[in-house]
Homo-oligomer: 248 residues x 2
């Protein structure tokens, strides 16, 4: 990665630097390789560290670089396609579900946006199940699944049992209900402390937040807030009819 | 928004500051209001400007704040739900499509990832149609739609006509084909210069990139790369059966 004369470029410096760095990543670095430190990189390209940092941030947003705790900045592998399929019409915890329950409790601390979707009253207690999704050996997503207690009335005493039993009791109770429909939204967010820990990321890292609403008997029975690593994941939405072709 | 003692908080300073600022946005600021400048805010909360900036960046990722060119940092309205519905099984340009063609051309500069999906040969020429999506009066997304020339052979001479005619000729030709299936991916990206201009954002702003593959006669006929503003948009994926309930 030789020095490059950036002074004469008409674009913003960091933008041109990003292109130069991107080419270098393709040709001179291997996936997983650690980049030289910022000071050395800035010196090599003759740019200020602020400029370098801007370019590195862009490349991180585009999934080309990863900042890893205690490791530094490494060349990212291609993003992993993770299926988030609205056509799959099942409750969380159904057979074949990719998610594993981690813990569960009853809580009256429901984020305002979730309370609106659940149509729960302020201070109303709901079940919350924390789940984790691992794909190709990596943690890809963390989830909080909020379930109205009146939806699964047989679970109200479940909080007394072991945390693991509570999660399974809630998930099992959901399977017995009719699922009328579900919808999803995807938006950009920043990783909250506990999700970040679960995902092995720093708090505040960009994440893709998928909010799924499950409808039963004409009302919202459960809301899942799933936090996917934005650096390593591409969310895929497919149609069954297209899959034989698209898998090729 | 009074001073707050942050020195004793056990979390990272910017994290606590983010919570304090977030509460202030709820209670003391109106949507669209311009925040005081960074120096004043940093002084008021007794934090370094770097700390303040980290907190502001988090709030921007979470959609609470918007940085607007030539205006400053303003309190963001709730994100706009924009339907990206894989159940809608139609070609781009079908009746009821929310997108407007802006321009079209033939190009042999196809990004590597798109060329892989299109299974086009290096240097092969394809049609590219630039489109724009406006929702609630705001530009929400910019798109480049790549169409194999052999998919719409009657359009090969269209480049000779007016740019607008070219776009419409390609879109019209697609409607005549069978659409076997489509799939989508959603991932985080950063706005490229021309998309940023179209979206009234700065280059490099975080965006949600939706890549849609359209399959006809057993192969990929077209690929759309749609760039949504991540600050103002929530992408929604719904099921028709659920909509009467979920609209309420």
């Amino acid at each position: 990665m030789g020095t490059t004369q950036l002074e004469t470029a008409p674009e913003p410096k960091y933008w041109h630097l990003k292109t130069v760095l991107s080419d270098a990543l393709d040709t001179e670095f291997a996936v997983g390789e650690i980049l030289p430190n910022e000071r050395d990189l800035a010196a090599r390209f003759g740019v200020a560290r602020a400029t370098l940092r801007q370019a590195l941030e862009q490349l991180e947003l585009e999934g080309r670089l990863q900042r890893r705790r205690g490791v530094g900045t490494t060349v990212a592998p291609p993003r992993l396609g993770v299926a988030v399929d609205p056509a799959r019409h099942t409750w969380p915890g159904a057979a074949g579900d990719d998610w594993q329950p981690v813990a569960a409790s009853e809580t009256d601390e429901v984020p305002a946006a979730v309370a609106r979707l659940l149509e729960s009253a302020p201070g109303e207690t709901v079940h919350v199940v924390r789940r984790s999704r691992v794909s190709a050996g990596q943690p890809v997503a963390a989830e909080l699944l909020y379930v109205r207690t009146d939806t699964v009335p047989d679970c109200v005493d479940a909080a007394a049992v072991a945390p693991d039993g509570h999660a399974h009791a809630v998930l099992r109770a959901l399977q017995a209900l009719d699922l009328d429909g579900q919808d999803r939204t995807v938006e950009l967010g920043s990783a909250r402390a506990e999700d970040a820990r679960q995902l092995d990321r720093l708090p505040g890292s960009p994440v893709l937040v998928v909010t799924t609403r499950y409808v039963s008997r004409g009302r919202t029975a459960a809301v899942a807030v799933s936090t996917y690593r934005a650096d390593t994941c591409r969310l895929t939405f497919g149609e069954r009819t297209a899959q034989p072709v698209l898998a090729g």
